[in-house]
């Protein structure tokens, strides 16, 4: 009996093996057949048109390096259509903010790269252009049908952002603007209109904080966290206070970087910082460390009456899994110290071709496809940030997103260089943020902090070669 066991075992094994092989083949046949059938059936009419415009990239892979903001899911979802049309697989990697910058710079410094497409942030435009990390897209655009590119359909202010000294650094496909978000329900109840001036903001903030009718509620939530959070906040608000951080940096300036003498001890700059300080008492406890995400969550959970958030967050406010204030929110133009002076902050992401990549033609195919009007509309419907004027007249998007009319009012008022787009941008913003935070904690007076900031930035910028007068 024992002797026979191995033999029996083998026999059983063989039978099992052959059976499984047959099953595998049947299954495989199913999968492949299905796949082939799918390919034929699901290309829409539009996509048919695209497949003649774009090349066949079957078997290839495109790598995209980008920020991990929530609309990365939308981008990945829409990119699958590209795969269906051209056969190229799209791999998208998202990272945190600092890491995205770091990785893109480090990757850009390599002689060769696996990354084909780089999605970069507005303040990095100068750095990337000067260092040559991305291709100048102008020649690519000029070779295309202008209707396909629809350059003028992009928001004008963001078009300016992606342009650097006659180069086009990337296509402006994911623009962010700051709008005011308000709890319409309670503002109406207390007889407030949405704020137009910064004094209105203060009044509303004061009213809803420590108000026994509204327990557990605060008037506002701002980006106060030390470093880039409050640093960026400064650059968001300063122009609406009528000020300018550097002598040549103001809306309408012919060359924003001509004179980089720091201007942080100007009355408007101090007024901005004082505004941040004054609002501290109307914010939730621990206000000093509130950053973008806490601010958004406080508002979405209903703890604050107003917040000024990037348009990329608006979709979250209408998601029942994330927002407790659906149907209670209204949107308004970014406030300013005096009516009519609003200069809403602008930011956002652009899509460029890595200059050290080796699949540039395919990368361009993807970019021009993804940023085209039709695909952009799908992207916005899936949750992406609107960046084209045509979105404002599209029936689907206007029906879905109630904040589009405010956005329309906002986009042309912004200043393209609201945050400097030079290589030193990150360091400037973080330094500004650190000093402002120290003023907000009371460690330094506003005067002292701004003076010290001026000195430090003057030294940093003149060392970096900018025009700084003593």
């Amino acid at each position: 009996m024992v002797l026979h066991l191995p033999y029996l075992f083998k026999e059983v094994c063989m039978k099992r093996l052959s059976l499984s092989l047959v099953l595998v083949f049947i299954l495989a046949g199913f999968v492949f057949a299905n796949g082939a059938v799918e390919d034929q059936v699901t290309l829409t009419a539009e996509e048919e048109m695209w497949s003649s415009e774009l090349h066949d990239w079957s078997g290839k892979t495109i790598r995209v390096m980008m920020i991990g903001d929530p609309w990365i899911d939308s981008l990945i979802e829409i990119s699958k259509n590209f795969e269906r049309i051209t056969g190229a697989k799209v791999i998208v990697d998202g990272y945190g903010y600092d890491q995205t910058h770091e990785k893109e710079v480090l990757e850009g410094n390599q002689p060769n790269s696996d990354v084909d497409i780089i999605v970069l942030d507005a303040p990095w435009v100068g750095e990337f252009a000067e260092a040559g990390y991305v291709e100048n897209l102008k020649p690519y655009i000029e070779k295309e049908d202008s209707d396909l590119i629809a350059w003028n359909d992009y928001f004008s202010t963001f078009r300016d952002v992606v342009t650097w000294k006659d180069q086009i650094v990337g296509l402006p496909f994911a623009s962010y603007y700051v709008m005011g978000n308000y709890r319409k329900d309670i503002l109406d109840k207390e007889g407030f209109d949405f704020p137009v001036t910064t004094d209105d903001v203060k009044a509303i903030a004061k009213h809803f904080s420590n108000n026994p009718d509204y327990p557990n509620m605060y008037g506002v939530a701002m980006n106060n966290q030390s470093g880039s959070a409050v640093g960026q906040a400064f650059f968001e608000w300063i122009y609406s206070f009528g000020g300018k951080p550097f002598m040549s940096m103001y809306p309408g300036s012919p060359d924003s970087y001509a004179d980089m003498t720091p201007n942080f001890d100007s009355p408007e700059a101090k007024e901005t910082v004082q505004f941040f300080i004054d609002l501290l008492e109307y914010q939730p406890e621990g206000a000093l460390s509130i950053a973008w995400d806490d601010r958004a969550k406080y508002f979405a959970s209903g703890y604050v009456a107003q917040a000024f958030m990037w348009s990329a967050r608006m979709a979250m406010l209408e998601d029942p899994n994330k927002s407790a204030v659906i149907d209670k929110v209204d949107f308004g133009l970014f406030p300013s110290s005096e009516p009519g002076k609003s200069a809403p902050p602008l930011g956002g992401w652009l899509m460029g071709i890595a200059s050290n990549g080796n699949q540039k033609d395919m990368a361009w195919d993807f970019i021009k496809w993804f940023c085209s009007q039709d695909v952009h509309q799908e992207f916005v419907m899936a949750g992406g940030p609107p960046s084209r004027y045509s979105i404002f007249t599209d029936p689907e998007t206007t029906a879905k997103y109630s904040w589009l009319d405010t956005l329309e009012d906002t986009v042309d008022r912004s200043y393209a260089d609201c945050r400097p787009r030079i290589p030193e941008s990150n360091e400037i913003i973080t330094t500004v943020g650190t000093y402002i935070s120290r003023a907000m904690t009371g460690e330094l007076t506003v005067d002292k902090a701004m003076k010290a900031l001026n000195v430090e930035l003057a030294e940093m910028l003149s060392n970096a070669g900018y025009n700084v007068s003593k």
Binding site: R63, I67, G68, D69, P70, I72, D73, I76, E77, I91, V92, D93, G94, Y95, G96, Y97, D98, Q99, K103, L106, E107, Q110, S228, A291, W292, D293, K297, A300, S301, G302, P320, N321, K322, S323, A324
Partner: protein
């Protein structure tokens, strides 16, 4: 009466211990529960500990969604297992040498070894990252494994030396008289005797590489990214996906918890043998 008093004291101590333990692991319990909550549940109600229902979407998205982290989990697993294996291999041979042979200046070398553990990783990180890039090992499993081996071998060697030192010499002498080489003594005689010590060290090294953040953050891109790095991306600063982070974090701490519960004997002997020196 004295007996009752003793029993009473004993129970009080027991209760205090229970409370202390609960407090100690409370954050971890919390994150595991949080991974089953929707984003709104996490923020809407203050003092919310238990999820309303077993919401599995967070895990679905973390593992299988568009931006899935599954690959990084696998990377972490591969990297940790391989690093541990290499570390144990290299350090056991070296530890054997230190314990059995008369080495000149061995005290100095031991101090040197210990001091590498004291070094802030950031000090080594900058030069090593430049080298790794030059060698084209950036974002490769091999690159990270090499770094982790470099980082852990000193400490593992130090610990294993202590274990080896406790073994009796007589058996070795007897074996060598019979004609065994040092290698054979190492392989056949000593290693089996300190198997549990090896296991302790292996466990500690595994945990360490599984948890490591800084090196992985700087030196991986997409191919070799490890799970801790992927988790920091959820808390990127501007957009924090708390609910996804909770799911990913729960996955990350799972091996640690499993190892502690099932291998605690080895862990404790490993951790504390470092203290009860020779």
């Amino acid at each position: 009466m004295k007996q009752y008093k003793k029993m009473f004291n004993a129970s009080i101590v027991q209760i205090i211990l229970i409370i202390i333990t609960l407090v100690s692991i409370f954050p971890l319990v919390w994150i595991v529960l949080a991974s089953f909550k929707t984003e709104l549940e996490m923020f809407r109600v203050q003092g919310n500990i238990f999820p309303n229902s077993l919401y599995l979407d967070n895990y679905k998205e973390v593992l299988f969604g568009n931006n899935s982290r599954l690959q990084f989990l696998k990377n972490s697993l591969i990297i940790s297992l391989l690093s541990t294996f290499v570390v144990v291999l290299v350090s056991s041979t070296a530890a054997f040498g230190f314990a059995k042979f008369k080495i000149k200046n061995s005290q100095h070398i031991e101090f040197w070894i210990l001091s590498t553990r004291m070094m802030p990783p950031i000090a080594a990180l900058i030069p090593l990252s430049i080298i790794i890039r030059k060698l084209n090992l950036f974002d490769t499993h091999l690159g990270i494994i090499i770094l982790y081996v470099l980082f852990n071998v000193p400490y593992a060697t130090w610990m294993l030396t202590i274990f080896f030192r406790q073994l009796p010499h007589e058996i070795d002498e007897a074996a060598m008289i019979d004609g065994c080489s040092w290698f054979q003594v190492f392989r056949i005689i000593s290693l089996p005797q300190i198997l549990s010590g090896l296991f302790s060290v292996a466990t500690l090294v595994f945990i360490f590489t599984w948890n490591e953040l800084l090196f992985a953050m700087i030196l991986t891109g997409r191919a070799a990214k490890t799970l801790p790095v992927a988790i920091t991306e959820y808390a990127g600063g501007v957009f924090i996906r708390w609910e996804l982070m909770a799911a990913a974090a729960t996955l990350q701490i799972l091996p640690a918890i499993i190892i502690v519960i099932f291998l605690q004997k080895y862990l404790i002997s490993g951790l504390s043998l470092g203290s009860v020196k020779g």
